[in-house]
Symmetry: C2
Subunit: 693 residues, 2 copies
């Protein structure tokens, strides 16, 4: 996954291949690591100190990815495609940092990112008992949902007030456990170095999710505190010698979302409705962005990040759908479900789970019915225009702030306020022409999905064609100005309703609001029903499989482990490492045509770089979207590489972890040092990484 | 319409803007030309000799486009994008004629096209009375459909036997008239000249349907008879001086399909169901082809023609949908329908039409319901894989040939046999990897649309994933070999059923056949219902609007007329001509990046060509997909240009002809001569075009 970055668009679907986990399977909690398995399989026992060190060296990019501290002066490494969002926001028609890369020659040249927030996990606390105690035993789903929402908000608020740390209650094991995660936040983050996008994403869409691979997918940021480089207590030491074939390695990062514990009904829904509908939407967006980008070089620059997101998500979903259309996947899931149902039927102590599958089935049906309206009026509305997202945030803030924090929509709670405001008041550039194309596409989607006679669609279009209406919305809104946003953010409901009367975009979000909230309510309540039923099924699984289980991914910190290992494809052995020489070779056989062209600097330096330097490597670590930027570390806790992708076979592994061919792909630590020194003349950064400063 | 070539995928939707035609509106029958209008508006009266000359100079490309004879030795000009299908079939990994162009230096070097058939219209005969007499007065739709099918086949067969000419009964005015069209056929057609695709389709997808424009979208073929260049009685004289602003011009060609006489119900269906569904399918195909093509230069070559078709159709449909989502379009249609309904209600002699709208509405509902199965099992099945199309043709031939010709599916009738066999036994290259990608995509579409539990889908997938099944189908079929096809084509139903037992692809088309035929039957019968009801409405229209009406396009020869005229866009005047200088300028401002790069030959010859030579021009001629390659001619019947596109505003004109901004775009005759002489060193072809030989 050229982006195993969590695309806000991607929700991955998966399941356990069998009743027990496979050799290197698992995205393990840092407070419940697979110590016994590591001892048994690899003779390695991570100490509490080792675990704390890797935990506090790991960094979460709230824009959707992972990273780690790699110097005592707050230097952070992540993927280029994780940092791309920030590179894009810092770029303009003159300086295109996405395409051309960036290098701060001194710390004074490091550039402050527009709206980037980083989180470092400081502690985990089990709050399951307190959450469950807040829900009355016979509570109906809406009450249970409200009660749980309120107690979570209360716990988060209490923790924030007490510690000053970002505090989030995380639902694990489908609701069988709730843990409180506390994060140290960094919001003064500066760009230090990025290579050219041509070499960071070498091979583009065709090579995305493929191996052998030749990508220099990394970039460097630095965390600042009080205007100075942050002095961090934990950072990963850099391994100058790198890792070798068959070596045990770990990936510490933030897998975004898996659904490996899905029931058959949910998996069927994903295959027959959810993924096909998502693909339909994604492909329409991709084609629209391709058209926009093809019109000029400047358009291509403006639309680049969006286009990449759509293409990446499309390729991931296409792969997932291909996996789900393999009948064997469903056979295994059916067998697993039969096994669990039989256990629930046979054992009295597990009887609470007997109705769980039917409940999930019924809830899934309601979710499926509400989904078109939820997607179009709620989810895609936010993702189809930066301006519309801002407008909605402003419009809803007034109403939400009037409620107690625990009763608000999640993103408007007090505990999320700082992150929310960072986004809302972002100075990221907004391009009228791009917004117009995106809004026209969104409005056309509304008309396609519900027909122009639908009451909400009629309000949205306001008697105009999507094209005319989009032009009117962009031309007429005042909220492009951050000052106007700040003013409206301080206003009350009446003032916002008044503003919606004159600002067409605020008017649009107002007109969509009731329908969007109604659909979201169904989705959230029925998800709660599913979660509670899933918790009962989870108990059946634990009763027989014991503690050899890990929860589905939730964009929280996890530890994965595996071996650096090649594989056999079509009868041919694919070795685990590629080299810089391979990069040049691949460009040559494609005659240097896009997306296989090399940046001028790389062509010019061919004689200066050591061609045998390892470039990318594969391991059996169990990773998924969100793991992008995760450090690959060795037993000594040293940095040996950085995860940036999974191969095409690992897309099937979203549903069934399997180490036959599925592999995580990393940039090797050694190519990073080699290129900093001999391609980019940035020896001072190489020195800092190697701790020579 | 970088392809106003009829894409088999595109069915355009349209309607009359008001009760009477606009100034230059109309796609007129050659046997009912708008003589009075031309006299009144332009003081020009085409003589029967003039009409016969342009009719017999015009050529239909059965692959989906138009062209014309331009020398006494059978030289034919059409668009590069019309000839592209043939260029692609003649190309291989070594010779890429699509990309690099082609030039036969002598007649001996002219290359025989794989499966191209050209038609020249020799005569038109009104057979309405005979067709109607064959239908019993109270016949139900299925009987009426069968009777009409039988009599048409009988008329065609009789004509073929008598004249030896290709004979087709054409339904005009939605069934108010039936005309017998007789064509002289040419099947020995050879490629003479094609420019590089970079200059023929300069600006690619971004410039497609745009103006100002700089495309050299032409190529040359030659018709042969008995192994010698055909000596033709009619060809267009070339105008060396070209045409001027405000000059009257004509476009003589084969507009593919319009639906300007649609009722409100049909137009609503097009907007809310048909076009959105078509776009969904097209965008999925486009993304799939883009992925395939991006993988290597050779893939890009193999997939080029398909990718172009999908992109072109997508852009056309997106434009049509944008037009239909303009509420004004529906307001006008509603007003027109109210007017006609009132006339039918008020006048006793028009009372037969009173129930027509309800009948169309009901039929449209049945068509909409059957469409998903019709599209997936019938239409897209043929368009999703060359091999599957061949397999179906073979499998169905056996069953169809056992019936009387008049009862067969249209494409299997005796009168179509020669064209059918030309396609079936085509030696066009078939690429296993491309076929596999396309089949996987098709099978995935089946599963997405109907679910894997659907009985037909289960048969199609045969217990495998789409990927595995596609691989099995391509690897296992024998029909790649033309010899095998010929053998099976001579076999009977029992033999085909036996072959379907061992050849997986024949097995697939067998398994789809019943469902495909059932859905097609509904579509055809209900279309007949609509046609008959439309004929009644047509009579109301004629009763009040007189003969100032032309039938919807049917890929038969039509005469359009208009003026060479610029327009105003966003307050800026767009002049009607561009020049070669503009081509260089546009490439320069895009830094020569794709799709704005120039072929090496054009860069090298910049100092040799006359930069002020007119390149493209716009006129108000009423054209649509299928008109690609139509000669643009002057009053003297001389060739002054060749239609290759319509601007973006003309997409709205698919529903409402309007000459405010909508324009047909032609390559100017002068740039053709200039480039043949001074870029391609093909002076002998320039001389032949100018009649100097």
């Amino acid at each position: 996954m050229g982006a195993i970055k969590v695309l806000t668009l991607v929700m991955v679907v998966g399941f356990l291949a069998s009743s027990s986990t496979q050799a290197d399977e698992g995205m393990w909690l840092l407070n419940a690591p697979p110590i016994q398995t590591l001892k048994d399989s690899y003779g390695f026992e991570p100490t509490p100190t080792w675990l704390e060190h890797v935990q506090k060296s790991a960094v979460r990019f709230n824009s959707g990815g992972s990273g780690s501290f790699v110097s005592a002066d707050g230097l952070i490494i992540t993927n280029h495609h994780v940092g791309q969002d920030d590179l894009q926001k810092l770029s303009n028609a003159k300086n295109n940092y996405v395409r051309d890369g960036f290098r701060a020659k001194t710390r004074a040249e490091e550039i402050h990112c527009v709206d980037l927030e980083l989180n470092v996990l400081m502690s985990i606390e089990d709050v399951t008992a307190r959450v469950n105690a807040a829900v009355k035993p016979k509570a109906k789903p809406p009450e249970a949902f409200a009660a749980r929402r309120a107690i979570k908000a209360e716990i988060e608020k209490e923790s924030l007030d007490k510690t000053g740390l970002r505090s989030n209650v995380v639902t694990l094991y489908q609701g069988a456990q709730y843990h409180l995660y506390r994060y140290k936040k960094y919001t003064d983050v500066r760009l230090v170095f990025a290579p050219e996008q041509q070499v960071a994403f070498f091979g583009g869409d065709p090579d995305n999710f493929e191996f052998p691979r030749y990508s220099l997918d990394f970039c460097l940021f630095r965390a600042y505190e009080n205007g100075q480089p942050a002095k961090v207590d934990h950072h990963l030491k850099w391994s100058a010698s790198g890792a070798a074939e068959d070596e045990l390695v770990f990936a510490v990062g933030h897998p975004g979302s898996t659904s490996r514990l899905f029931t058959l009904a949910e998996l069927t829904d994903a295959r027959d409705r959810r993924i096909p509908k998502a693909l339909e939407w994604l492909k329409a967006q991709e084609v629209s962005m391709l058209s926009y980008c093809a019109r000029s070089t400047e358009n291509a620059r403006r639309g680049h990040d969006l286009l990449f997101s759509y293409q990446n998500a499309r390729k991931a979903y296409d792969g997932e759908l291909a996996g789900l259309l393999d009948p064997r996947v469903f056979e295994r899931k059916r067998a697993e479900e039969t096994r669990l149902k039989k256990l629930a039927a046979d054992k009295k102590e597990l009887s609470a789970a007997r109705k769980a599958w039917d409940k999930i089935d019924a809830a899934q049906t309601l979710i499926s019915q509400a989904s078109p309206r939820y997607n179009l009026f709620e989810r895609y509305a936010d993702r189809s225009s930066t301006l519309m997202q801002v407008a909605r945030s402003l419009y809803r803030s007034a109403a939400e702030k009037a409620k107690p924090s625990g009763q608000r929509l999640r993103e408007y709670r007090d505990t999320n306020r700082a992150s929310f405001e960072l986004n809302l008041f972002s100075e990221e550039p907004i391009y009228d022409d791009l917004e117009q194309v995106r809004l026209e596409s969104y409005l056309t989607s509304l008309a396609k999905e519900f027909g122009v006679d639908d009451v909400v669609v009629q309000k949205a279009l306001s008697g105009k064609s999507p094209r005319d209406r989009a032009a009117e919305l962009v031309a007429g809104t005042k909220i492009k100005a951050v000052a106007v946003r700040k003013q409206l953010y301080d206003a009350d409901v009446a003032a916002l309703d008044k503003a919606a009367g004159s600002d067409p975009l605020l008017g649009l979000v107002r007109d969509l609001d009731a329908a969007a909230r109604a659909a979201r309510k169904i989705i959230e309540e029925q998800s709660e029903v599913k979660e509670q039923a899933q918790a009962k099924i989870s108990r059946v699984r634990y009763a027989v499989d014991g503690t050899r289980a890990y929860p589905d991914a939730t964009f929280t910190l996890r530890l994965a482990f595996g071996t650096i290992k090649g594989y056999v494809e079509n009868g041919v052995r694919v070795p685990p490492f590629t080299t810089i020489e391979g990069l040049y070779w691949r460009s040559t056989i494609h005659e240097g045509r896009a997306p296989f062209e090399l940046p001028a600097r790389w062509s010019a330096r061919k004689n200066k770089v050591k061609l045998s330097t390892p470039m990318n490597l594969v391991s059996t670590c169990d990773i998924i979207g969100g793991n992008s930027g995760s450090p690959t570390i060795n037993r000594a806790g040293e940095f040996v590489g950085i995860i940036f992708d999974g191969n095409i076979q690992s897309l099937v592994a979203d549903f069934a972890y399997d180490d036959t061919q599925a592999r995580a792909v990393s940039v090797d630590a050694r190519v990073i040092i080699e290129s900093l020194r001999n391609v980019y003349d940035a020896g001072e950064l190489a020195d800092e990484l190697l701790g020579k400063k």
